[in-house]
């Protein structure tokens, strides 16, 4: 193959790649900009509250304090995994993380005064996405049993605490309760 023909082939591949990536992400940005706040709230997926509560209260008091009694953390990894809904449950957490990133983008775009809150939320949601992603990857690699104890139960505890915190904040602010984190499944 002559150098010019090789160059032409590679350049065509590059142009196709640039067009595909550009169009895909431009459409994604466009779709994101046309979504309203209420629609984003509605897109958050409900979490199985009973399961999350059971896993969380195995490790903490209802007040949020860590349990130090002998019965604390007696659930075995299999039970924790089952109560959280297994891989589907983890995927729901991951999905919610992505929507939280979109919510941050909405706030940043629509209300410049909220830039600091938006950036804070975006960074937290990205970190959350990272942690949940690790748990999902561990499952894909077949090593989930080694990670459930460290990640899954703490994730449930965190979700439980978040839910408690949200309910208090929502009541205090007298706003519509944050449905997905209340858990309606």
């Amino acid at each position: 193959m002559s150098p010019n023909l090789l160059f032409l082939s590679l350049a065509c591949l590059l142009i196709a790649f640039i067009l595909a990536v550009g169009i895909y992400y431009a459409l994604r940005l466009r779709a994101s900009t046309s979504t309203e706040w209420e629609a984003l709230l509605g897109k958050l997926i409900a979490i199985d509250r009973n399961g999350v509560d059971a896993v969380a209260l195995d490790a903490i008091e209802p007040s949020g304090q860590r349990r130090t009694d002998k019965l604390a953390r007696e659930l075995d990894p299999d039970e924790v995994w089952k109560l959280l809904g297994g891989l589907d449950g983890v995927k729901r957490l991951e999905s919610n993380s992505r929507i939280l990133v979109e919510m941050a983008a909405y706030l940043q775009r629509s209300y410049p005064e909220a830039a600091a809150v938006a950036e804070d939320l975006r960074l937290q949601a990205k970190e959350l996405e990272l942690h949940v992603g690790r748990l999902r990857m561990a499952d894909e690699q077949g090593s989930i049993e080694f990670h459930i104890a460290t990640y899954a139960q703490n994730a449930a505890v965190a979700y439980y605490l978040m839910e408690q915190r949200l309910q208090v904040l929502c009541r205090r602010a007298n706003v519509q309760t944050f449905r997905p984190l209340q858990g309606t499944r």
Binding site: N4, L6, M103, A105, Q124, L128, T150, N154, C170, A173
Partner: protein, 260 residues
């Protein structure tokens, strides 16, 4: 240095459109937010005037060197615009977003390396070594600009960072122009200056036509006002604050669980 009537028409249209665009940037105060982009428009106006005067004196060598010297400045300013836009998108609070800095740097390095390797491959037909260098340099800058703009679009979408209205309009125009130029420069680099350079001239006219379309788009888009800034409703403010605090707790717990 024969110019056809369509060359003269394009020349006049480029000058008029650039002057109108510069007027819009100044009159609507957009130059404050986009000083490097405004500088590029001003450079294009100056270039048109200078090259026209040189052409009137039929100074071929002066025309050649001035044209390519200003082309280098033009490319430098285009990379400056990439920085100008990137610094607005990826520095939402005045500092580079920590989750983006590394990925952005990696994308820039990969783009430069891959484009450099690709540029080394072709052997464009040309009479002088400088012509080959110009063809390769034009391809390199067009490819790199396209990759950088598309990379910015992709990274901002993944990171959840939004674009302001006018910034998005400038970026869309530049991305379309860069990709259009990349296609034309690919053909130029393959075919070189064979056939008396006629194909090269035709493709140059096509590039100017793409540029004229982009400038017309910018004139309209930048003349219009951005959507008005809304005051954040109390319920959205409260919900955002609640979500932010809740996620903070969850992240902290996950972070602790990952510690040895």
């Amino acid at each position: 240095m024969h110019l056809t009537s369509i060359d003269l028409l394009f020349w006049a249209m480029s000058f008029i459109e650039d002057v109108v665009l510069l007027s819009v940037m100044v009159l609507r105060g957009r130059f404050r937010a986009f000083p490097i982009f405004t500088s590029l428009v001003a450079l294009n106006i100056m270039r048109t005037i200078v090259l026209f005067v040189i052409r009137q004196h039929d100074a071929r060598a002066a025309y050649f060197y001035t044209f390519w010297l200003l082309a280098v400045v033009d490319v430098g300013l285009q990379f400056g615009i990439v920085y100008e836009l990137g610094s607005k998108i990826f520095r939402p609070l005045g500092e580079w977003a920590p989750d983006i800095k590394g990925r952005l740097l990696a994308w820039v390095i990969v783009s430069i390396l891959s484009t450099s390797l690709l540029t080394l491959i072709p052997r464009p037909s040309s009479s002088f070594w400088m012509q080959g260098l110009i063809l390769k340099g034009s391809f390199f800058s067009a490819a790199l600009m396209s990759e950088l703009f598309v990379g910015m679009i992709a990274l901002s979408a993944v990171a959840g960072l939004s674009w302001s209205s006018h910034l998005a309009k400038i970026a869309i125009g530049l991305t379309l122009y860069s990709v259009g130029t990349l296609v034309l420069e690919t053909v130029n680099t393959c075919l070189g200056l064979g056939g008396g350079g006629r194909i090269y001239e035709d493709l140059s006219r096509l590039r100017i036509a793409v540029y004229l379309g982009c400038v017309a788009y910018w004139i309209i888009a930048l003349w219009r006002n951005a959507p008005p800034v809304r005051k954040m409703p109390d319920h959205v403010r409260q919900q955002a604050s609640a979500i932010s605090q809740a996620v903070k707790i969850r992240v902290e717990t996950l972070r602790q669980s990952g510690e040895p």
